[in-house]
């Protein structure tokens, strides 16, 4: 078990800097999810921790030991890859035992560990099959088994669920979480799926364009997003953004409505409203002209435009709805559930 420190970490390919001064302290046993859109550098960061990419500058320490110059095998980590990366010509048992065989562990110790991991992952009956005879979910388990038998200080997951179908993904997500809690191994998990990130992580690191936008617990990120990027990325459906003018505790919406906000700021700002925080209110200041309804069963998403303007806005209402296209519904929002961002920098305004 170990903690991980990332200190002023920079990665460049030639003159192009792709990761900019990443800082992060990961506590022993924590489950950290690195999340961001594709191309944000999240996989690169993970691979740097794994030792598959070199560190341009800065330091990575695992358990207080600087590992920048160490080979992946010397870092005491285990990695689960997106496409599983199982050795196709070896049986499940051989796949799981390969790393231990190289480390020259005694045969019965290897067998014991493989059996134990197979037991945990419920893949005992597949031990003598080849990876190609297994389904995607089973391969994923084998890949995790291969990580578990090494008994590492750190688990690294590189989008391990993205090749699975939706239902299996939800199930495996829970299993990974349970497994990690049971083993208590410090883990870093990379994904672009914000739901996966929210449900799995003790803390989330949101990356965008090589910068850390925010690093905190899922609830912190949801309740107090540090930037418009985080606000738009975390939560589904995504937060609505409207340009407003703030004065005297009120936001003037485009089209003229007045919405109370919990801020003493004054001046132009971007107002963020989560669709699920819009409450139906016949006298509310937010009038939505409906373009489309998405019926999800438990609730309905109303997509439309702020009446009289071109600003698109989405609201989530409980139950069913059958309003016609072009009809208008009015909403209000609680002042403490509104978010204000600086229009230029996208940073949260906390005044």
């Amino acid at each position: 078990m170990a903690d991980i420190q990332l200190k002023d970490l920079v990665k460049s390919y030639g003159p192009t800097e792709v990761l900019h001064h990443i800082e992060g302290d990961i506590k022993d046993g924590e489950f950290i999810v690195i999340v961001g859109p594709s191309g944000c550098g999240k996989s690169t960061l993970l691979r740097m921790v794994a030792g598959l990419e070199t560190v341009t500058s800065g330091e990575i320490a695992i358990g207080g030991r600087r590992v920048n110059e160490l080979e992946p095998s010397a870092r005491d980590i285990a990695m689960v890859f997106q496409n599983y990366a199982l050795y196709p010509h070896m049986s499940v048992r051989q796949n799981m035992a390969y790393g231990l065989k190289i480390r020259k562990l005694p045969k019965d110790e290897i067998n014991r560990r493989v059996e134990e991991a197979a037991e945990i992952l419920e893949i005992k009956q597949y031990l003598d099959r080849k990876p190609r005879q297994l389904s995607g979910g089973q391969r994923q388990r084998v890949a995790m088994g291969r990580a578990i038998v090494r008994d590492p200080q750190v688990f690294l997951f590189d989008e391990p669920l993205s090749n699975l179908d939706a239902k299996l993904r939800v199930q495996m997500r829970l299993e990974i979480r349970k497994l990690q809690q049971r083993l208590g191994v410090t883990s870093i998990y990379v994904t672009h799926d914000q739901v996966e990130a929210m449900t799995l992580g003790d803390r989330l690191m949101v990356l965008n364009g090589g910068y850390v936008e925010q690093f905190g617990t899922p609830i912190e990120l949801y309740d107090r997003p540090a930037s418009m990027f985080v606000a738009g990325f975390i939560g589904s459906p995504a937060m609505n953004f409207l340009p407003t003018e703030i004065s005297a505790g009120h936001a003037t919406l485009p089209g003229g409505g007045l919405l109370p906000v919990a801020s003493s700021y004054s001046g132009a700002a971007t107002l963020g409203l989560r669709p699920e925080h819009l409450n139906e209110d016949e006298n509310g200041p937010i009038a939505i002209e409906i373009d489309m309804l998405e019926q999800l069963g438990a609730n309905t998403l109303i997509h439309g435009r702020l009446h009289g303007t071109g600003h698109s806005i989405t609201a989530s209402v409980p139950g069913h709805a059958n309003d016609g296209i072009g009809s208008i519904r009015r909403f209000s929002a609680a002042a403490e559930l509104t978010h204000l961002f600086d229009t230029g920098s996208g940073k949260r305004l906390d005044i």
Partner: protein, 283 residues
Amino acid sequence: MVEHRPLTAFLTHLVLILGVFAIALPVWITFVASTHDELRMNQAPLPLWPGEYFLANMKQTLFGSGLSGTEQAPVWLMLLNSLAMALMISTGKIAISLLSAFAIVYFKFPFRMGFFWMIFITLMLPVEVRILPTFEVVANLGMLNSYWGLSIPLIASATATFMFRQVFLTVPDELLESARIDGAGPLRFFFDILLPLSRTNIAALFVILFIFGWNQYLWPLLITTDTSMTTIVMSIKQMLEAAEQSPQWNIIMTTALLAMIPPVFVVIAMQKLFVQGLTETDK
């Protein structure tokens, strides 16, 4: 495309049967000729059905002096020479091209692509083109009349290197990374992961290269002067021109028949892997 019209069925079968006939007839005649005595083979018309001298011909060809009135090595020795040459060429080619492809695909070193193209360019330099300098080198190294001289100049292979390079490029990077995390060094990765994954390609290449080596004619003819180093393919030609007498077709054809057996055996033994190696792309 599946059609069930009687006429097309008839035509396709006709074409196939003609094809089989065209290929099988010469082989059949070779076999028949090896079962008659010398006298019968010099009379017209040629026999189309086997006679009873097969074992006698076989014995004389394999262990006797072969063709009477010449100083040929016994055919079993030629078979052995050919086998040694073909095996050395095919295994040597495979070993060297596996290693060079491994170096080119998995290691970063200066002028990597330069080396690759240098290897590639040798495609344009088969033995026939570089015959004089190669002979000079082999002669100066004292490798005339030896297995080394027969095989080494033919071992370097751009085709095989290129093929293994393509095979290695289809192996996902994650396997290498996974092996690195498991603690496998380059050689371990090569032997534990890469070789087993290229198994079918190696087999396919072995079949092709074995036949290539077995059928070498010009090069062995040039560098062997000692009859004990004669290979079987060159001896068939020499038998035809031997002495002033009429050709002993029964012996020549028995030799030809014997010369066919090892390649056929290799193809049959490796057929399954061979087809997989040429068609399978999934790693």
